[in-house]
Symmetry: C2
């Protein structure tokens, strides 16, 4: 963008030294500069579309008013674009820009990208993951101002911002208990999202923990947990198999709205109505959750809020520590949960 005047252009046009022009444009009044010269500098700056060069300024102030965001594939995941929106809005509200880049899921790319950001003098880095998990951030970030977004790195001295999945599990339990369900409750998806994660996903483990805990507190329990991957085809296949095996669940807690999408298809094929015959509750609140018939009751991933909280932690003054910040997941009540089909 070569058409803007530089400080030297402004000084030349105003007939003053670059030092004088720079003092005028910095608004300094502690130097003796005539009003006429001051006026000529301001007019020349306007005529030449001069703007202060943040790049040069950052060399002096050591602040570029820029935050780097390195993620795996967050920017290109339909489920998590809202993370970026929340971060962008919070950064804009405090006059910062976001530098967004991503590894595309290749861990080896992390160091290179972090170095590229550091080369551009970012003030701080948000290190983000698409789904909540443990990560090993590149060593280049050690000692810098870093917030972990949707991920955890035990042993590193950086705060994490994650969805409150335990409480979300409790919320799902309370929704079902509130409608009168105490048995015939199945988890579809469980902890594992197999085959990718033999130890369970963070979200899966924490939700089942909260779900179990709150069901027991209400005098109920899960009838069963079906471990499967978390896509629509998995929900369809597993619920179909459950019904074919003679099970007749009264309520399904699906790991994702995508699993619910497939569960709806399997229930419809079997002639079962939602919620008259089977109640369904899930997690995420993807766009199609409200298009399903009946619209799906689900507990939303707080994407925008995750992004906002991460930026505010970064920009608030003071040191950062390894606190884990849990962001509430709001319940979206729609029409997929009703009273049990058979009472007692």
């Amino acid at each position: 963008m070569p058409r803007r005047g530089t400080m030297a252009d402004v000084a030349r046009s105003a007939g003053v030294s670059p030092t004088t022009a720079s003092f005028v444009l910095a608004g300094r009044t502690d130097m003796r500069i005539s009003d006429a010269a001051r006026q000529r500098v301001l007019e020349a700056a306007r005529a030449l579309a001069y703007r202060p060069n943040v790049t040069a300024r950052s060399l002096r102030t050591r602040s570029s008013r820029t935050i780097g965001l390195v993620s795996d594939t967050i920017t290109t995941t339909p489920y998590a674009g809202e993370v970026i929106r929340g971060a962008l809005e919070a950064a804009r509200a405090r006059d910062h820009l976001l530098f967004i880049t991503e590894t595309g899921g290749d861990p080896a790319a992390g160091s290179g990208l972090v170095n590229a950001l550091l080369d551009r003098q970012v003030d701080a880095v948000i290190y983000a993951a698409m789904f909540t998990r443990h990560v090993d951030p590149p060593p280049e970030l050690d000692g810098g101002r870093v917030v972990l977004l949707n991920c955890l790195a035990p042993g590193r001295n950086a705060p994490s911002v994650v969805p409150d999945e335990i409480e979300a599990g409790r919320t799902a339990a309370r929704v079902l208990l509130g409608a009168g369900h105490t048995r015939g409750i199945w988890s579809i998806g469980g902890r594992h999202a197999l085959p990718a994660t033999p130890d369970g996903w963070f979200a899966g483990n924490e939700r089942i923990r909260g779900l179990d805990e709150a069901l027991r507190a209400g005098g109920a329990a899960l009838d069963g947990v079906v471990e499967c991957a978390w896509e629509a085809a998995d929900g369809y296949r597993e619920v179909r198999a459950l019904l074919a095996g003679g099970r007749r669940p009264g309520a399904l807690v699906c790991a994702t709205d995508r699993v619910s999408f497939g569960a709806y298809q399997a229930l419809a094929e079997a002639g079962l109505r939602v919620p008259d015959d089977v109640s369904v509750v899930s997690f995420d609140d993807q766009d199609f959750a409200s298009w399903l018939r009946p619209p799906l009751t689900t507990i939303a991933l707080p994407h925008s809020e995750l992004g906002r909280v991460a930026v505010e932690l970064i920009l608030d003054p003071g040191p950062l520590d390894a606190t884990v910040h849990r962001v509430p997941m709001p319940l979206r009540v729609r029409d997929s949960v009703g009273p049990p089909h058979e009472n007692g």
Copy 2:
């Protein structure tokens, strides 16, 4: 990120002048520097985690190897995250970073964001829209190196990269003609995506143009065009009304996969099967298109390719002109189009 050594630190540690250190680290061999001094500088640079300061370098070379991307709400739209992926990958392949920011749909924010990018010395700017449309880019971009992504600005001397919607309309026609449909063909969604756009959307106008043209070339024609917004609820409502009005379409061309989603629901309620009774083809290829039963035949928005082409235009040497680059929209053949229910 204060922990990296500067060039001055490296020079001090190696016991050479900053000029000598700088020549060694720039790889210059046209200066007389002893091998021992050269070795000490390289070791000090390694020990101090020295990296060249791109910010300082950009003041000399006038290149920051950084591209700014300003969009309305593209980064936070589930349908267009792939645009960012394509742009990021192309930028990375050529050792550039992307600076992503967005107006959040507020046109007044455009100038401020462009200035913020120019302040950070971006080499070029990609100006992007969520859905293809005419835009009025901020005047700050005039004269700079600019590519318009998914938008058009007649009168500005900048290239545009848009999906080839006319050809996509022709493709939809050929899919139906190939299956034997020549009548009972309805467009659901048409040109307008009412009520937002009284003059029609770019995508709507161009698709209908291509659809009409190719149907006529095949001896067929549209039976009707239903103008409506392009969401799932609109597809459901309009197809339901069409059937309730006694129409019995043989094939639906839906403006988006979301409209198809609603159309499927209305057809199922009326006891009509896809594709046995009614064929459905649409545009976009959103994730759920392949989860529907039957999986939906659709013509994909080439999001990743749009982003890639925009970055490559920016980075290829040579002047930019106002050419409109049309990126092909690939057909995804699935199971929602079959032969007409009634022959003849």
